[in-house]
């Protein structure tokens, strides 16, 4: 069965940095790069957060939570 070759470099699955084949053991993710990579992967979710939040607040569940929060606040 034909198998695809592996490229000489592959991105680290945790931080996305390009790591040369055979050098995986010596690779250490940089915190900043790992954070950037995670934020980039979640960019669609982050970009749509405000829109989704507003829509949820208009839903029956959101409206009830608003009512309940207000009642709790008044004691």
């Amino acid at each position: 069965m034909l198998s695809l070759p592996s490229p000489r470099h592959m991105p680290c699955e945790h931080c996305g940095a390009s790591v040369e084949r055979g050098g995986e053991a010596g690779h250490q993710c940089e915190d900043e790069r790992r954070l950037e990579y995670r934020v980039f992967a979640l960019r669609d979710e982050i970009e749509s957060f405000d829109e989704n939040w507003t829509a949820w607040l208009q839903s029956p569940e959101g409206l009830f939570e608003l009512f309940y929060a207000e009642r709790t606040r008044r004691g």
Binding site: M10, G16, S18
Partner: protein, 237 residues
């Protein structure tokens, strides 16, 4: 320090050239590179020939002159005693050096610094290029479209020429490119992954510009690195 030896041999030039070609030249062509010979040029004069030999070192030139096979070829040729002058070379420059500089400029200024205005300076109006991912592309506009496509997918793209050789009007280069996939590429959504890709390039140069370029690069590896194609298991050591 390179040295240039200039040797004049007097006599009938046609006869001298014929003897040179059948006696010394075949041996010199084989032996010269072993002793650091860079180039050899023979010119015809009214009263003989002149031979200009460029050497990497003076020592290499002497070793060549003392080589037994060269000595035997000289005896066979039976040339009259040549007049000889040696010069220390200050510098040499050839058209191929300019062609190599052109390839470095494309990697440094266009692909790494993203100075797209340089394209019109280095790509000929009748340019034709081929690439495994883009097929054939023509002219500075076609080259620009290709560069823009990759730079929009990898805005921090860099390219480094790692090896380059040249002969005649052609250069061949090996390069390594890097970048972070933060823009759409061939319909593939950005992944945020860093990629490293290697390729080779054959370019033909005319009048200081590239007129033809045929590139091959690890397109499969690129697609594997951005997750569009599964990566195979590493080859056994």
């Amino acid at each position: 320090m390179a040295v240039l030896s200039v040797m004049k041999i007097e006599g009938d030039p046609d006869e001298l050239i014929a003897r040179l070609q059948t006696t010394i030249d075949p041996v010199a062509a084989r032996k010269g590179p072993q002793y650091g010979g860079i180039s050899s040029t023979v010119v015809r004069l009214d009263d003989g020939i002149k031979i200009f030999n460029l050497w990497q070192t003076e020592e290499g030139r002497h070793q060549m002159a003392a080589d037994p096979e060269i000595q035997a070829a000289l005896r066979t040729a039976g040339f009259p005693e040549p007049s000889f002058t040696g010069y220390e070379v200050v510098w040499t420059r050839s058209a191929i050096d300019g062609a190599k500089a052109l390839a470095h400029r494309i990697a440094d200024e266009i692909w790494t610094q993203h100075k797209l205005e340089v394209i019109d300076e280095v790509i000929a109006s009748d340019f034709v290029g081929t690439s495994p991912t883009d097929g054939e592309f023509r002219g500075p506009a076609g080259f620009r479209q290709l560069v823009e496509r990759y730079i929009s997918a990898f805005p921090n793209a860099t390219m480094q020429v790692t090896e380059i050789v040249g002969e005649g009007d052609m250069i061949a280069a090996h390069w390594t490119a890097t970048g972070t996939h933060t823009g759409e590429l061939m319909g593939i959504a950005p992944t945020g992954r860093d990629v490293t890709v290697e390729g080779t390039q054959f370019d033909r140069i005319r009048d200081g510009k590239i007129v033809e370029s045929h590139g091959l690069f690890d397109a499969l590896g690129l697609l594997q690195q951005i997750g569009a194609v599964p990566a195979g298991a590493p080859a056994p050591a």
